[in-house]
Symmetry: C2
Subunit: 228 residues, 2 copies
């Protein structure tokens, strides 16, 4: 791994802190680390968007936040208000949990409309929307349907997992989503990515973005590999 | 356990279905069970409040829903909008996850104000507010502080757990919260309650409400105990 590859790896990472009990000080440290390593974005809970935007002022690191997280089971209107507030506070990326109940219940119109409204709003702000599918709760057929419906809603990324479910990203799921989505839609692998080997396997399977809270450890591993 | 005790047990239970992937059909079944057994309330995700209100029309079973669930890490404004929408849709009880980050960071004013605004709104609708403290993430000192701040905000119940954390209700936590709260504030034990013995232990420790998804199994156990 050369220095260019190391920079590219960092630029693929959403440096993530979504613990329920994360504090202001921990969010500020996360932002410092993201500046230092050149991560693509930090990903924080809505409560901390303003703090992160302030901490990252003047840096190319973006602020991502989550909507309807992690269950995706709030109403369409609340997801929209949450998105609006995050965008107004300076979030550049929204990771939105889809309505898994509507997916499993076959309620296609409600599922797609909810996401499409968030996409329309975010697009007006020049922001990116990632649909979190929570693949650990889905059958193969449901993964396919979720991907198709989310793409129909116009999302910019399909994201595997919340990190709060019973399982995270798998190489198989990333490859499946990559196969299902058009080239213009990115794949974000998230949940359980803790080593350089896992990170590289996800990228090789077709992920264009990684969500992890082990970002610094992964980068240190990459640097030591380069140095050796 | 006589028939009166069985009815009292049922009347203490919030019959709960908060899985991310619960479907409309499952929510309707939950409501039927609640009517049949005489549970105090059903507890469902915000997405399903309207469905539950409709399914329970004409019955004394109340509809409870959750706010900022399960991380409590969305903004105060989004919690308020979520509460408003749930109340307008007919929810009679709101189980609100407190801001654990603000609790741990010592941000008392923001913590209390957020909850107090929800209480003020809900009171106008004649609705009940329960503060979910997620005790599994808290030290003894933090549990005490969370209870005191939530009581100061005017909540009607202290609730131990979301059921999505690393641990649920314990007899010790229920007893601690009972000791800390004034008599006018109820205690709701939730998370991991799956047997009649556990349910009775929580009530004996001072809980006045139980949140469980094993309600039917617990009631069947109580009935068989009565029958024997």
């Amino acid at each position: 791994m050369n220095q260019h590859a190391i920079r590219e790896l960092a630029a693929s990472i959403d440096h993530t802190l979504l613990r329920a009990d994360a504090t202001l000080g921990q969010v500020q440290r996360l932002c410092q680390e993201a500046r230092q390593w050149g991560f693509c974005a930090v990903c924080v809970n809505p409560l901390w968007v303003k703090v992160a935007v302030q901490a990252l002022a003047g840096s190319p690191v973006k602020v991502a936040t989550v909507v309807g997280f992690p269950l995706g089971a709030t109403t369409a209107r609340v997801k929209l208000v949450e998105a609006q507030e995050a965008l107004a506070a300076g979030a550049a990326e929204l990771d939105v949990v889809v309505s898994l109940g509507r997916l499993k219940g076959g309620e296609e119109t409600a599922f797609v409309q909810e996401l499409a409204e968030v996409v329309e709003l975010a697009t007006g702000w020049g922001a990116t929307v990632k649909a979190i599918l929570e693949t650990c709760l889905l059958s193969e057929e449901e993964k396919t349907r979720a991907a198709q419906w989310a793409v129909a809603a116009g999302v910019h990324f399909l994201k595997t997992s919340t990190g709060f479910g019973s399982g995270g990203a798998t190489v198989e799921d990333v490859a499946l989503l990559r196969k299902l989505a058009p080239p213009s839609v990115g794949i974000k692998a998230s949940g359980g990515i803790r080593t350089l080997a896992q990170a590289r396997a996800m990228l090789a399977a077709g992920a264009s973005r990684l969500g992890t809270s082990a970002s610094v450890a992964i980068m240190e591993e990459a640097v030591s590999w380069y140095g050796s």
